[in-house]
Symmetry: C2
């Protein structure tokens, strides 16, 4: 078993295929758009984190837990579909393909994105049932996903991100945006893995902290990639943030200092794990994957 | 205790206020837009149906069940916010006030609408916990809400409704649209009330059938109102369906035949209740309220 996200990719893709199978009516454009968005590949970092955290806390039934991993990726996918909409970032490319609204139109993409949210909660509920978790842990899973996705988490960050296009941004404001937009769901993913393994609150908190810091490191590197990479390497339009006038970490700190900052966040996240005596080999490998992918 | 939806309005508004209190950050436009949409009043028919079905199946802890009622109204509210978007119906008025996107912009309205979906599942989970329902019933509640809201239900209907603007519609196609767009969530509301009372599957199925038919009756009358009422009575732009070239029940059947059809659906829904020996006084009053409001 290696620590790479690829280790669980088959399980993750299988769970996502189960989610896709729950989408009704392949003929209707909304269902087709939802399937299109879910089958776009991507790094699957969030579900890999769920499963790595689950294993690190002693979880052994990977198949049963995979629906929880899928639920997080389904929420992430909905956010990408909505993020790309003309009323949001108005982007043409995602994961190397035309964005959902470019293929199916804005109405179908908006509806398809929203339809993924109940689907995620359905996957979560099924998986929690298969894991035979105590009632209180199941409620925590729902709460964790709802908080990570909702107005205090990802959606709140999406808004701050849009609003920041029209204002000068400080480093603190930028961190706040990314703590929510990217960090909240990644933190929820790590915490959900621990809850799925029915581990104690102390460890769940450590996983959340690890996820929060990994998410920030990931986003800093995303900004760096946007600054230095070419569109064909990235699978989405390069230099987009600068075109939109968005503040970025390399914009505020310079590329090298941004990279150092990402590394510092990564280390702090791993420190949180060791303080809670959580085996960190797999989780460390995933976090490094998030940070090292531009080398 | 009367059968009017007004009987439970205090409990419903209180549960919705609890939902609103879970929305973070009153200052951010997305949270403000979500609060704005939830506080728009409306008939609160769906949560009233949840609570009436709960009582009809012997449920007695109305406060605990009210979060389930609120979860359905929160989902309904998100659908209204998205339905009104420029990429959808592009409507200016809702519940007598400017639509959310007219006040806060399309991006904030799209995000606020989506943020209501995890909020609904959070309310549902809290309420199911307070009711101390068996695990299998809690899964059924989640499944019912996810199905009612998702691609096979409401979202699927929203799409069919949009698509129908550009094609000639038959009565069968129109029924299919409304069975999904309006019927699915109302059927889920009635069924969820029964599940919350931990009643048997046979009764839950009867409640679902009652909800499905009541939803169709409700939608037929909505079409009739759109045809005959003035904007100031309706709280939304009158004659909108015809302007959009949408097929409607009065358009296909005439106003009087459409009203007869609504009445027939109502009666069939109540028959389903009596066949399952579910006391129908409150539920009948709610269904009649849905159908008689244009007299």
């Amino acid at each position: 078993m290696t620590g790479s996200p690829v280790a669980d990719l088959d399980v993750i893709e299988h769970a996502l295929a189960e989610a896709v199978a729950l989408i009704p009516e392949p003929a209707a454009p909304v269902a087709t758009a939802a399937r299109y968005a879910l089958s776009g590949g991507g790094k699957r970092l969030r579900p890999a984190l769920v499963l790595a955290a689950y294993r690190a806390c002693g979880g052994t039934d990977l198949d049963a837990a995979s629906g929880i991993a899928a639920s997080v990726e389904v929420i992430h996918t909905y956010s990408l579909v909505h993020d790309d909409l003309p009323s949001m970032d108005n982007d043409d490319l995602r994961r190397g393909r035309p964005t959902a609204h470019r293929v199916f139109g804005s109405a179908a993409a908006t509806l398809a994105g929203a339809s993924l949210i109940p689907l995620a909660f359905r996957m979560l509920e099924r998986s929690a049932g298969r894991l035979r978790l105590p009632e209180v842990r199941r409620m925590e899973l729902s709460l964790e996903l709802a908080r990570g996705a909702g107005g205090s988490g990802m959606v709140g960050g999406q808004w701050l991100d849009l609003a920041a296009e029209t204002t000068d941004s400080t480093l603190e404001a930028l961190e706040e945006i990314h703590a929510r937009k990217t960090g909240a769901l990644i933190a929820a993913a790590a915490a959900m893995g621990g809850i799925a393994a029915n581990t104690d609150e102390h460890r769940v908190a450590a996983l959340r902290e690890y996820g929060r810091r990994t998410g920030l490191a990931f986003q800093i590197i995303d900004d760096v990639l946007d600054e230095v990479a070419q569109t064909d390497q990235l699978g989405k339009t390069a230099g987009r943030d600068r075109t939109l006038g968005k503040a970025t970490f390399p914009g505020l700190l310079g590329v090298e200092e941004a990279r150092r900052r990402a590394k510092a966040e990564l280390d702090a996240g791993l420190d949180a794990l060791s303080a809670a005596s959580i085996p960190d080999d797999e989780l460390a490998a995933l976090a490094r994957f998030a940070v090292d992918r531009d080398r």
